[in-house]
């Protein structure tokens, strides 16, 4: 039993995980996304969780090993080396992190393993129509009724609500106290008749998002996270987890930025605009945004690891929004009249047009 892995030397740890992977990791699986899994993937993730590789920094009683960040990263390196998913979820699975932080032991027993193993999928039930980013203005209501709360109201811009098993819900449980008080935070079961999910048709003519309607939907009192009417604090923490996960994701930014750079330059070359001095200035500008974003993320990561807090992480959204809008504008300019066209037959235009509209979603 590995209850005291911190005593273990880095070499032994590396050896152990390597051996385990050699014995267990065979096939190649698609990387997990927040709201789609496959049986094969779930089976693998289950193995990872039970072998305690999923959340190494977490305590032993909750599928972890209580490892230091450094040692945990050794495990994650080895998983990355063979492209095996499932490790490091204590940094990436912000639903599970939220549950660990605020959930009752009962709830943790009920949900944690399933979440880490991808058997229980989740969605966010925060935004409401008209309220925009003003979550304190939430009007969806949850009223106590016996052991349950009864939920009525509407949410919007939820991703993966159609497939999710549970949603992280903020609802008003007290109408008398000031706005951001009187809010509570729940894990709401989505698969019940009181919950109706309608896909939203986006400007891009796709549907990644949904509207969710609650009509006397029920959630057990034990699925309340944090204290009653104290959900605002839970929400702030959950949002912070979400942001830092974005930060983790952004570690890949350097690679992305290189790919994007190659692709933009290729487009400029194809369009015969690479020698146009005006376009070259815009090219340099747009490419620099991505590159600098990667540098920011690297710095933020370093700061994080040395424990110094950094304001950069909170700027990820703003930076990404600028990158996407500027890149869309540039791609359009490079294509000129070609950007009038659209669809699979004109992939370059299709990319530019999609990006133009999709860039707005970074601000949701």
């Amino acid at each position: 039993m590995t209850a005291t892995d911190t005593s273990m030397s880095d070499e032994d740890l590396r050896e152990e995980v390597r051996t385990w992977l050699q014995q267990n990791w065979k096939d190649h699986l698609p990387a997990p996304t927040p709201w789609t899994t496959t049986p094969a993937l779930r089976a693998w993730l289950g193995k990872v969780v039970d072998a305690r590789w999923a959340v190494n920094r977490w305590p032993v009683e909750w599928h972890g090993r209580g490892l230091s960040d450094t040692q945990a990263m050794i495990v994650e390196q080895e998983f990355r080396a063979v492209r095996a998913p499932g490790a490091g979820q204590d940094k990436t699975h912000f639903y599970a992190i939220t549950a660990l932080t605020f959930g009752t032991d009962a709830m943790k027993r009920q949900l944690l393993r399933g979440m880490l193993a991808g058997e229980i999928t989740m969605c966010l039930l925060y935004s409401e129509p008209g309220a925009g980013s003003d979550l304190a203005g939430v009007r969806t209501r949850a009223e106590r009724e016996g052991d349950d709360f009864v939920v009525n109201g509407q949410k919007v811009w939820t991703s993966g609500a159609a497939t999710a098993d549970y949603g992280m819900l903020i609802a008003r449980t007290d109408w008398n106290s000031p706005k951001h008080r009187g809010i509570s935070f729940f894990f709401l079961p989505m698969k019940q008749k009181g919950v109706e999910v309608r896909p939203l048709r986006q400007v891009t003519d796709e549907s990644h998002f949904n509207e969710v309607f609650f009509t006397d939907a029920r959630v057990q009192a034990e699925n309340l996270l944090g204290d009653l009417n104290n959900g605002w604090r839970v929400l702030q923490t959950a949002l912070a987890y979400e942001r830092s996960v974005m930060g983790e994701a952004a570690r890949g930014a350097r690679r992305t930025s290189d790919r994007a750079a190659k692709d933009l330059l290729a487009l400029a070359r194809e369009a015969g605009r690479l020698s146009d001095p005006v376009m070259r200035q815009d090219l340099a500008r747009v490419l620099s945004y991505r590159r600098v974003n990667a540098l920011n993320n690297a710095r933020a990561k370093a700061d994080l690891e040395t424990g110094t807090s950094s304001p950069i992480m909170s700027l990820g959204k703003l930076a990404m929004s600028r990158i996407l809008h500027e890149e869309a504008r540039l791609r359009t300019a490079l294509l000129g009249a070609g950007s009038l066209l659209d669809g699979a037959a004109f992939p370059r235009a299709d990319d530019a047009n999609f990006l133009t509209l999709n860039a707005y979603f970074t601000s949701i």
Partner: protein, 353 residues
């Protein structure tokens, strides 16, 4: 007449019509088109002798402000440009043959530029044989080129550029509809393989250039009108919509954005109308003012439509909301008849720099 047209758009061309046009193959509502014809709009530039109103750039610009605000899909722009092109030619029986048809509302298309889509001399990808009888090559980005009843084509000839009349159903002429990002737009790519054509008398590139000037003024009007409408939508929305307990219009960030948009939109209107006036009076600064209007209005519309989505927030990210329809049109107008960057160059040249 502008008032009558404005009323017509208000009564018969709301968002539902626009969305229907998006799905329609032709891209427009024939009934509305005939209504415009009855008001004389299609014959606005056609002289009275040929059944038109004998109007000029000023009237064109005013009408296009309304058309732009309403996201008209019908081939009005082509009718205006075709009339200008034919009126500009010295071919009297082409006049008698074609102008009345245009005035009556027949759908006319202009094959002017090739795949490069620059709408400049070197962009022309059609060539006539030595006898000026047969055209070969291609033309792209042809407005309503797939369902045109009349077709005019610009081609290289042994003696410079020529303007040709082509029967759309002639053998050797193939038209392929192009899928467009702006779904209210109808573009086609035409390929010519020894297509019989009739060359118009006394019409060369200078005639085409004047036609493009008129096209740019019309487009500027459309852009100014569209920008004004989308800004109205936004400010109206900002007034009524509440966030953080206040009308979002009362937030400085929004006010600031709105003030800048108002400046750009009003500037677009001023520029479009000034260009029309200059073209009407053939003032010596016509080239300068047309180029100025071209990039000023294009950028203003693009900005107004883009910011509208920002200021509406989430609701404008849905297909059901009209904001993206204006953004799509604004981005299309950014490319038609030349890019803002190209117009800025032309503006400087017109200033003698």
């Amino acid at each position: 007449m502008t008032d009558a047209v404005r009323r017509l758009f208000a009564d018969k061309h709301d968002e539902s019509v626009v969305r229907a046009n998006m799905e329609a193959r032709s891209g427009f509502d024939p009934a509305f088109w005939s209504a415009l014809a009855e008001l004389g709009v299609t014959g606005l530039l056609v002289d009275a002798a040929h059944g038109g109103l004998g109007g000029g750039p000023l009237e064109v610009e005013a009408i296009m402000e309304e058309a732009g605000a309403a996201l008209l899909g019908a081939p009005l722009l082509s009718s205006f440009m075709a009339s200008a092109l034919i009126e500009g030619s010295g071919d009297s029986d082409a006049r008698t043959r074609l102008l009345p048809a245009i005035a009556q509302g027949r759908i006319v298309a202009l094959a002017l530029t090739g795949d490069v889509g620059t709408w400049t001399e070197d962009g022309v990808a059609l060539i006539a044989d030595r006898e000026d009888a047969l055209l070969s090559g291609h033309a792209s980005f042809v407005l309503h080129g797939a369902n045109a009843e009349l077709l005019l084509a610009i081609a290289r000839t042994v003696d410079g550029f020529g303007v040709f009349e082509v029967a759309p159903d002639t053998a050797g002429l193939n038209s392929m509809p192009l899928p467009t990002f702006d779904r209210t737009l109808r573009l086609a790519r035409l390929t010519f393989d020894k297509v019989p054509a009739h060359r118009l008398d006394a019409a060369g590139w200078s005639t085409v250039a004047r036609t493009l000037q008129l096209g740019l003024v019309a487009l500027a009007g459309e852009q100014a009108g569209g920008a004004r409408r989308v800004l109205e939508m936004t400010t109206q929305y900002a007034k009524v919509r509440y966030q953080f307990g206040r009308a979002i219009g009362s937030f400085q960030a929004i006010k600031h954005m709105a003030a800048n948009l108002l400046l750009e939109t009003e500037s677009a209107i001023s520029a479009a109308r000034a260009a029309a006036a200059a073209l009407a009076s053939t003032a010596n600064d016509a080239d300068e003012l047309v180029a100025l209007a071209a990039f000023t209005c294009a950028d203003a519309y693009d900005r107004a439509a883009a910011d509208a989505i920002q200021m509406h927030g989430g609701i404008a990210f849905t297909w059901a909301h009209p904001a993206h329809l204006y953004l799509r049109r604004a981005r299309a107008d950014l490319q038609l008849f030349g890019t803002p960057a190209a117009h800025r160059e032309r503006y400087l040249k017109a200033l003698g720099a």
